[in-house]
């Protein structure tokens, strides 16, 4: 089916890279290596899922990286103050959702450019991080430490972290939302043509606010996953992560113009970003800066492919 073409390209690319790695490097083709792709990029995966919905609706969210950092710093600060770990998690999730909802409201109500609003949001969140603390705050809470160290055996001696599990669960829930709920279908409809969607009587306004709320929520959840991974709150966490998230979404086959794409694609986009990093570190001789260049080149390739794809089936204005 033609509409699965971009997703197929992504999956094929991933498999090709995996095959390349397996042939070239010993020990590449191990389950743990692949699970590590997910483990090391779990927070990126969660954020990219939220970003997928925003981009599907034709918007963009530049604030997610800063929001992750803010989440880690607030978590670390609250834990230091003696809050109960689960209360902390619930609080930061609520804050993330609220932050996203405010951005969404401004974008929808005043017809502001998502780029600008989330840019301001990014400045604001990053600034708040610095205000709270410029130094790294370690997290010593026992629950967090336990979660960070927990390993879920998957078989064959390989294991997954809680963070990785959360990422998989988020992807599964998001796939369900995108495919089977009215909210998800309305997101696609807005991306296909906002005015047409309105004429059809779909609840465009509340859905637009909803995608940014969802993105904020995912960013906060990604921040929680990062606290498990790093066991610290630091205002310089996740600098530039929004670009990685956007890259993962685009490489995953979602059109930046909106309306076309799959959450599953984003998962593979994240895995591809991870595998590039892994291939480079396995090689040992290439500097890690090649990651940026390869990601950029892939972005270019996918964007050009998208232009061709768009050229054949034009979107409604």
């Amino acid at each position: 089916m033609k509409r699965l073409l971009p997703l197929t390209v992504t999956i094929v690319l991933f498999l090709a890279m995996a095959a390349f790695g397996a042939i070239r490097y010993d020990g590449f083709l191990s389950l743990q290596v692949f699970l590590n792709l997910l483990i090391d990029n779990a927070f990126l995966c969660v954020v990219a899922v939220g970003m997928t919905f925003v981009i599907l609706s034709g918007g963009i969210d530049l604030s997610v990286g800063a929001l992750i950092a803010l989440t880690t710093i607030i978590s670390a600060t609250l834990l230091e103050a003696g809050w109960h770990p689960y209360a902390v998690m619930v609080t930061v999730l609520a804050l993330g959702a609220a932050f996203g909802a405010v951005q969404g409201f401004l974008i929808q109500r005043f017809n502001l450019a998502p780029f600008l609003v989330t840019l301001a949001g990014m400045f604001w969140a990053r600034g708040c991080c610095y205000l709270i603390s410029t130094e790294s705050i370690p997290i010593g809470d026992a629950t967090y430490a336990a979660i960070a160290q927990a390993r879920i055996p998957v078989g064959g001696g390989a294991s997954l972290t809680i963070g990785g599990l959360i990422a998989l669960v988020v992807v599964a829930i998001a796939m369900r939302i995108a495919h089977s709920t009215e909210f998800g279908r309305t997101v696609y409809a807005i991306g296909g043509g906002e005015s047409s969607a309105r004429l059809m009587g779909l609840s465009v306004d509340s859905t637009k606010i909803g995608v940014y709320l969802l993105s904020g929520l995912c960013a906060a959840l990604g921040g929680i996953v990062m606290t498990f991974y790093m066991l610290s709150g630091y205002s310089l966490h996740a600098v530039g992560l929004e670009l990685d998230a956007i890259a993962a979404v685009v490489i995953g086959g979602t059109l930046l113009a909106g309306g076309v794409g799959y959450v599953a694609g984003t998962l593979f986009g994240v895995l591809i970003l991870g595998i590039i990093q892994t291939l480079i570190s396995f090689d040992g001789s290439l500097s890690s800066w090649w990651t940026r260049i390869v990601v950029g080149a892939l972005l270019l390739l996918f964007c050009l492919l998208q232009r061709l794809f768009e050229g054949r089936s034009p979107r409604a204005s």
Binding site: I60, R109, F110, N111, L112, A113, F115, L116, V117, L119, A120, G121, M122, F123, W124, R126, G127, C128, C129, Y130, L131, T134, S235, L243, I246, A247, L256, A257, S287, S288, W289, W290, T291, R292, I293, V294, V295, G296, A297, L299, L300, C303, L304, R307
Partner: protein, 349 residues
């Protein structure tokens, strides 16, 4: 309000100038010697000079960004281009100690500078081609270079910070000419050159018509594609100039940090100065004032002893304010609240 006063306040540069003036006044209230100028070591010295010097790279980049925004485009890769330009120049100059203890440059200085600028202009042209020929949205097209560009710069430097020892290079960022910083002279010359180019040739008219109504410009026979390509190329070139100033100033090229967040500051400077993101009318002078506002703000925060982290929060408030003021829906809302007269409504029922 008297008509002459009203005309004054409606001038597009009014609000940016007032903002800058306010910032300067507040700064000198907290720091009495803020506006003081002395002559030291053969040049002017003072906080104001410092601001002008530090603002120069931002001014240069923002001037290039102004034209791109004026044709309804955007370039978020300028930070990466700054890093690339700084890297190319630093690599070509290098600098090794010769037998006499004097530092020589690996290539003639003019060649190093020219190459760096050529590479930067090529980056701009690349962006322009993606936008005009491949039809990509500007933010997407320039995102690619933003992501990959820094990687390329890092690759060239091998991840190291390249230190430049060749003294003549330092003039760009640290030198003084006729008492004022060379960097400022560069920015001012660029501003004047651009102004002349825009007002003495048809370029200004074409840019404003393409941004004001692209369809009407097309009907009128304006060659929009060619002009848009030139505008993006110039933006890259401007970023290249800024890269030279920055690396000269710190006497090194740091591919990771050079130009970090510069694109956001540049966009902010342009919008603060009064150019709308929707394109069309633009103001170079406004952009310069916008860059000065940003730099003055940074200096003020620093000199007040306020943690520099506040800078970002303040910048976000600025972006937010400018956005809301430029939003038609917001102005409508304010108008409705200020003048609740039902007979003025009713475009629908």
């Amino acid at each position: 309000m008297k008509p002459s006063v009203k005309r004054f306040t409606q001038h597009p540069l009014f609000w940016p100038t007032i903002t800058l003036a306010l910032l300067l006044i507040v700064s000198s209230v907290f720091n009495p010697s803020f506006l003081a100028l002395t002559w030291r070591e053969g040049h002017l010295y003072g906080s104001v000079i410092d601001i002008l010097n530090r603002a120069a790279p931002l001014m240069v980049v923002a001037l290039g960004m102004t034209l791109v925004i004026a044709v309804r485009g955007l370039d978020i890769s300028v930070g990466a281009v700054v890093a690339i330009s700084a890297t190319v120049a630093a690599l070509m100059i290098g600098g090794s100690f010769s037998a006499t203890g004097e530092v020589q440059s690996a290539h003639p200085l003019w060649l190093a500078l020219a190459t760096a600028l050529a590479v930067a202009a090529a980056c701009g042209l690349w962006n322009g081609l993606l936008v005009v020929k491949a039809g990509m949205q500007p933010i997407v097209a320039t995102l690619i270079l933003m992501v990959a560009g820094r990687g390329i710069a890092q690759l060239l430097t091998g991840g190291q910070i390249i230190t430049v020892y060749y003294a003549p290079f330092f003039v760009l960022g640290n030198g003084y000419f006729l008492g004022l910083p060379v960097a400022l002279w560069i920015a001012a010359s660029l501003w004047i050159a651009l102004h002349l180019l825009l007002s003495r040739t048809a370029l200004g008219l074409f840019v404003r018509s393409i941004g004001g109504n692209p369809e009407a410009a097309r009907v009128a026979g304006v060659r929009s594609s060619a002009i848009t390509l030139c505008v993006y190329t110039f933006c890259g070139l401007a970023a290249g100039v800024a890269g030279l100033i920055v690396s000269s100033n710190v006497k090194s090229a740091d591919a990771n940090n050079a130009g970090q967040l510069l694109e956001l500051d540049a966009i902010l400077a342009v919008t603060l100065g009064g150019t709308a993101l929707t394109g069309g009318r633009f103001t170079l002078a406004g952009t310069v004032i916008g860059a000065l506002i940003i730099q003055t703000l940074t200096s003020m925060i620093y000199s007040l002893g306020v943690p520099p982290e506040v800078n970002l929060v303040v910048k976000s408030a600025l972006v937010f304010t400018v956005m809301m003021l430029q939003s038609a829906e917001f102005r409508q809302l304010v108008a409705r609240i200020a003048r609740p007269n039902p007979s003025l409504q009713g475009n629908r029922r």
